[in-house]
Amino acid sequence: MKKLASLFSSSRTFQSVLILLIVLCTSTSLYLMDKSVTSFLLLLFSFLLLYYTTFSNWIKWGAGALIAFAVIPVAASGGPSQQVYMEVAVMAGIYIAMALGLNIVVGFAGLLDLGFVAFFALGAYVYGIFASPQAQALFHNSSIFPLGGESFWLFIIVGALVAALFGIILGVPVLRVKGDYLAIVTLGFGEIIRIVFNNLDKPINITNGALGISGIPQPKLFGFTFTQASHIYFLVLIVLGFVIYAVRRFEDSKLGRSWKAIREDEIASQAMGIPLVKTKLWAFALGASFSGMMGVLFAAKNQFVDPTSFTLLESITILVMVILGGMGSVPGVILGAAIISILNLQILTEITLFLTQNLHVPEVFSPAKMQRLLFGLVLVGIAIFRPQGLIPAKNKTYKIADLKAKLSKKNTKTKETTTSI
């Protein structure tokens, strides 16, 4: 095993052959077989292998994009039942993006947010209310509403802004006091948002209460409607790509470094001149905005929102993704989110089906019901045995010589410009 690992890390030919082989085998078997969870999972596993190869980042990203944009959709187009895989991939993408948003709050800034799904709900409901016939009922047959599927693109931004706004409204009072309270306040906020959405059908019917909003239009672009999960899949990929890019950029920015400084030591970073509340608020608002954005996508995909999708369990699920993958580590969080969402959506239900149908195990023992136990064990286990997660966060290292060279280059440049003037 060790020999294999060393071979993998030393030889690039071996790496590329192995990945090519895996991708080829799994995608053909996925295409030909009617239902094969294993090959689907192995195909996704190739992303992880790709991450550990020693190729340059450009090649890694290019190959990853090729697999995500071309190989997976083609391989999953084999039969009608395989839309299920696309469905799973879409949900996994949404969860990955949300986990990356939560990673900003929990991983980078070190603030525990236990009600993250509230922002997801806000995004989903904003699009749900204004784009569906619900808006017509709300504004009494106004001619503008409902906005329809073309407005989806606008609402991706609106959803992000609304979520960020609520993040700030919630954050301003709470972030001023000590950090521990944040956990419990966000926990309450998540619950309150759900209660409010559940009951906001009177006095004015805004959210249609527990019945939820149906008839939410699917995204439309130049007359083309994204109806199938395989259409939405590309949409999710693009948004996810944007989110990953944004998070990577934030991480190495001045703001990102301030977040990490606050996480390590609040008082010391304050002494270094970092504005505590402002920096924390940025983390809170940005994390929330990613969640709100994905909420809009979620509403458009399901064409239906109701309060039961936004429970505490969802918030904890996203938290588990971040903790399992590794707080503050972008590749780790992506891995954690992929593992947990696929486990949740596919593996647990498959095992449950197998157990109850083939082995006639009573329903009480079905693992699909034991999500809470599973997540609890993951949280406690990671906290005690591996707090850095599956793929620990790596801080960007700066070589002092490089920095100095850069600085002197800059200085000479400015000198030149000043002398020329």
């Binding site: 009072p173 619950e191 938290l319 136990l373």
Partner: protein
């Protein structure tokens, strides 16, 4: 006004009962926070576990033919609090003690994990044994005491009724609070506890066994939490594995309201929140002209929490603590 006043006695009685329950659960939060600076998310679940243990014990007693009277109730209370106390100590030993030196976020995550594990374990056991995770238990005191209608200053006050169990709940809760207060303020162990809460390292230098004191704190907090769970199951009859979560949130709010770490403050905060919540549930519809109803009662505790954090983060009776560097 007439409507609000006419139901006031009932509201006050119910609010006092609920408040007493919040107060005792809040004690557990405040004690652990005072000594470890950790929000013990699992405390709400320990309360819930107490409710289930008590219900299970009562079922067993009925099965073996014991009569249900005050003696059995006391026995159940003692057994349940012993078990939940041990549970609390076990949780501290397994999930918190190894993390005492870790960054602050890590024990919080562990606490959330423990709380989820407990919820699901209890759900599993309840579902396995009874087929449904919502359980309706045995009630020991079922008779009701009626308070007749009367009129005061021209206002008619409706008749109200209390379960005799209400008196038991309030009585035992008050007893727990008084005993705990004496214990913390007057005994040697209580002094040790306060010393550890103030400064763990110095306390250790003074010859206090810090680990033992922390374990004791968890034992007492969890034991009284579990006992309250039994009382809750007696009062409201129907329990499910998820009662601990929102109740824990409110009890924590009570602890913050009273000044976290302050035991008397937690008692007061609990009573206040219980009263406010029942008052809101009964009268919100009347006050807002039917726009908002009792379904928003859970929102109240949360709004109070936010308001306290904005205007008086140290709580009503707490002292603002300077952070040690």
């Amino acid at each position: 006004m007439q409507e609000i006043l006419s139901t006031l006695p009932q509201v006050l009685l119910d609010g006092l009962t609920l408040g007493a329950i919040y107060a005792v659960v809040a004690l557990g939060y405040t004690m652990v926070y005072g000594i470890l600076e950790l929000i013990n998310f699992a405390h709400g679940e320990i309360f819930m576990a107490g409710a289930f243990i008590g219900t299970a014990l009562l079922f067993t007693f009925v099965d073996i033919g014991l009569a249900l009277n005050w003696l059995t109730l006391i026995l159940v209370l003692l057994l349940a609090s012993l078990l939940t106390g041990v549970l609390g100590v076990g949780i501290e030993r397994i999930a918190y003690r190894p993390l005492r030196k870790a960054p602050k976020l890590i024990p919080l995550i562990s606490a959330v994990g423990i709380s989820f594990i407990l919820q699901d374990l209890v759900r599993f056991i309840a579902e396995y044994k009874t087929g449904n995770y919502i359980v309706t238990g045995q009630t020991v005191f079922e008779n009701k005491i009626a308070i007749p209608a009367f009129s005061i200053g021209g206002y008619d006050v409706h008749a109200s009724a209390i379960k005799s169990n209400t008196l038991v709940v309030i009585g035992i809760a008050v007893l727990i609070m008084i005993v705990l207060d004496i214990f913390v303020n007057r005994t040697k162990w209580g002094i040790a506890m306060r010393a550890v809460a103030q400064d763990r390292d110095t306390a250790a230098l003074m010859g206090i066994n810090v680990n033992k004191v922390i374990a004791l704190t968890f034992f007492i907090g969890s034991a009284i939490g579990g006992a309250t769970g039994v009382l809750y199951a007696q009062q409201y009859a129907t329990i499910n594995p998820f009662i601990g979560f929102i109740l824990g949130l409110k009890a924590f709010t009570a602890a913050v309201l009273g000044g976290i770490g302050n035991i008397r403050g937690a008692m007061f905060g609990g009573l206040l929140i219980g009263l406010l919540e029942v008052f809101a549930a009964a009268n919100l519809g009347i006050l807002t002209g039917g726009a908002l109803g009792a379904e928003y009662k859970d929102v109240f505790a949360f709004i109070i929490l936010i308001l306290v954090l904005i205007f008086k983060p140290a709580g009503l009776f707490g002292q603002a603590v300077k952070e040690k560097v």
